[in-house]
Amino acid sequence: MNDIANRKWVWIGGLVLLAALCVLPFLVKNFRVFQFNMVMIYAIAVLGLNILTGYNGQISLGHGAFYAIGAYIAAILMDRAGIPYWSTLPVAALACFVFGYLMGFPALRLGGHYLALATFALALAVPQMLKYKAIEGWTGGVQGIVLSKPEPPFEFSFLGQPLSSDRWLYFYILFVTLIMFLIAWRLLRGRVGRALVAIRDHPIAASAMGINLPVYKSLAFGVSAAFTGVAGALSAAAVAFVSPDSFTSFLSITFLVGVVVGGLASIPGAIAGAIFIQFVPNFADEISKSAPWAIYGIFLILLMYLMPEGTAGLFRRIWARLRPSSSGTKTAETAPAISTAAPQSVGGSQS
């Protein structure tokens, strides 16, 4: 009885949220819409990394590379082959899946910080390889590729604001984001998700239970890379420019920051993480021109002290305190399992 009522409210809440998201771009300037687009794109990338790092316990400092590959595949397809922007996504996803899956093999033998270093090498290598002269005809070398922004397919206006190409992209990206989050949710809530968490928490016990470690670990890598690749492909359309300098190794670290800030092993946390990596650097720049990164670092340290389990952990705690009776049993079952396991796995891999 209570459960059914709850479900109804979740549906209503979800629809209201969706309606708000649809109206939002018409309330703000194009520039803000562009920033929201970037938040959604980062959210997909952070979610991808979270599948690998949060759920499966494999640390990657190389996801900027998959983002770059996704972006370049989309850009080259649009620029050279004249393929419409929306059909570049499956290609980018597939290519990044294969690439990530292959990267998953060495990852089987490398644990903890060794894996972090190996993936970091990938992040360092990809921008350099994009400048390689044999493929310069495709990648445009250091100059990169300048693209045209996708135009909205029809004219439309709402609240006196026209459907500009940024607003059109907003809906397109929102649609893709919803689908990617749905995929992640279906994947991680079921058997696969439990298997990934089991591998993270205790690989030996997991294999004793019949989970095929190599397959699951490299699949996690592949899926994670595919998510990030989709984000990259979307960014190519939104920014309308790709160049090797857009994808420096710092981008990979930024994604990891997003995962940690959002909360390890949390799907909605990816959105909080994306908001952080999009807006806090701008905010830091406004505070001090001399040392924006120091301000950024202070924010990060403060967050780690105040919310050791990320934004998701904070919300979970507030939720548990507000509703101790009704869904108390539910949160008590799932939440601690995730929140205590995450730091454990990081600590375990370092020892």
Partner: protein, 401 residues
């Protein structure tokens, strides 16, 4: 109903404003008013290229000085400078912020080649002046296709032509060896050099070698260049490789007439790491007054700069050439705004920027800023300097245009 009323009121106020400005012969685009002019800028204050942040800070300080002295034609400059961390996608975000949210009149001195490339198309579609970009690539002076973008410093091809010109005059029968970085920057320099040599000169090149930014060293290329019998060496390399090349040439006893591109003539980053005595005799192009060069110390221009530094940028590194660069760039901007007078539209800003001829105090004597409707390269002159083991010594005439 209420909205309609507001609309009507706004329209009325707008009409009033238009008629008023019409009488006073003042014309404004967004970003300019009777009281202030909003100028935007994007610089890397964070990230790998943050050393260039000094340029943005200097411009900010210089505009503060201008405001303290009463502004330009009575208007204060509001300088909005943003950080992009040298990341092109962030540059686009910041450019959009400047154009769409801050609604600046123009952007000035946006730094970097990849970063400016990312916003090149956007700025021109938006008809937003992308004035005096701080990069040496040759593509910024293309008024036909990109009428809203203009360069500033001597472009790579122009600088190369200076070396070619000097070479043809001093050593007409040279055998030339060239080492260049295999990317657009290297090719830009190479093209200017070959164009400068002309048809006859091209035959003088005996060896052209490349390296990749990813290479560990350029040792083998240097050995090969020596073996080719070249007696002139054009060194088109970035700082790390420039230092390696200079050192290796000395080690293998190759003593050609050595031209080093301006990109790598930093004393601290190249000449000293390469071994100060190894570089004796190297020639490189300069266009700014190096603050460490003692010959300027007693000139009024230098003293004026020192006063500015003490007053508005206390504690800054006085050896940093980037500060001189930012100072000069800000002065160029002020000149354009002065010339624009009360007609502060984006179109007029570009028209005035394409119509300057002036000398600036911290440019070398004889180096000027000159533009025209089809000449979007403001600084095109330079002077050669010779490394004497301690410092760069200016020599000879002013080259270029």
């Amino acid at each position: 109903m209420k909205r309609n009323f507001l609309k009507a009121a706004a329209a009325g106020a707008g009409a009033l404003l238009v008629s008023q400005t019409g009488f006073a012969q003042k014309r404004y685009d967004s970003g300019a008013t009777d009281k202030e002019i909003k100028i935007g800028n994007i610089n890397p204050y964070s990230g790998p290229a943050s050393a260039y942040g000094a340029i943005g800070k200097t411009m900010d300080a210089y505009f503060k000085k201008i405001n303290a002295e009463g502004g330009i034609n009575g208007r204060m400059i509001k300088f909005i400078t943003l950080d992009d961390g040298y990341n092109p996608s962030r540059t686009l975000e910041m450019a959009r912020k400047l154009a769409e949210e801050e609604e600046v009149l123009a952007t000035v001195g946006v730094l970097g080649t990849p970063t400016n490339s990312a916003i090149h198309k956007y700025m021109n579609q938006k008809k937003m002046p992308q004035l005096f970009v701080a990069t040496g690539a040759t593509k910024w002076g293309d008024p036909k296709n990109f009428p809203w973008t203009m360069g500033w410093q001597p472009n790579y091809q122009g600088e190369s032509m200076i070396y070619a010109q000097h070479l043809l005059e001093s050593k007409p029968n040279a055998k030339i060896g060239i080492l260049y970085q295999n990317d657009d920057y290297g090719k830009d320099y190479l093209k200017g050099f070959i164009d400068g040599l002309g048809d006859k000169g091209k035959t003088m090149i005996v060896k052209q070698l490349t390296y990749e930014v990813t290479d560990a060293t350029v040792d083998s290329q240097m050995v090969e260049l020596k073996a080719s019998g070249a007696d002139v060496f054009f060194n088109i390399t970035t700082p790390k490789f420039a230092a390696q090349a200079i050192k290796k040439a000395a080690e293998i006893g190759w003593k050609p007439q050595h031209y080093l591109n301006n990109v790598s003539n930093s004393v601290g980053a190249v000449m000293l790491p390469a071994g100060a005595e190894n570089g004796v005799g190297i020639l490189s192009v300069f266009y700014l007054k190096d603050p460490t060069d003692s010959q300027w110390a007693n000139t009024p221009e230098f003293k004026e700069w020192m006063t500015f530094m003490q007053r508005y940028m206390p504690g800054a590194d006085l050896k940093d050439l980037n500060i001189v660069f930012g100072y000069t760039l800000a002065q160029g901007t002020v000149q354009v705004l002065k010339q624009a007078g009360d007609n502060l539209t984006r179109e007029n800003i570009m028209r005035q920027a394409a119509n300057i001829e002036m000398n600036l105090p911290m440019l070398l004597p004889g180096v000027n800023v000159k533009t025209g409707a089809d000449d979007f390269y403001p600084i095109e002159r330079g002077q050669l300097a010779r490394w004497d083991g301690k410092t760069w010594v200016l020599q000879g005439k002013i080259f270029g245009r």
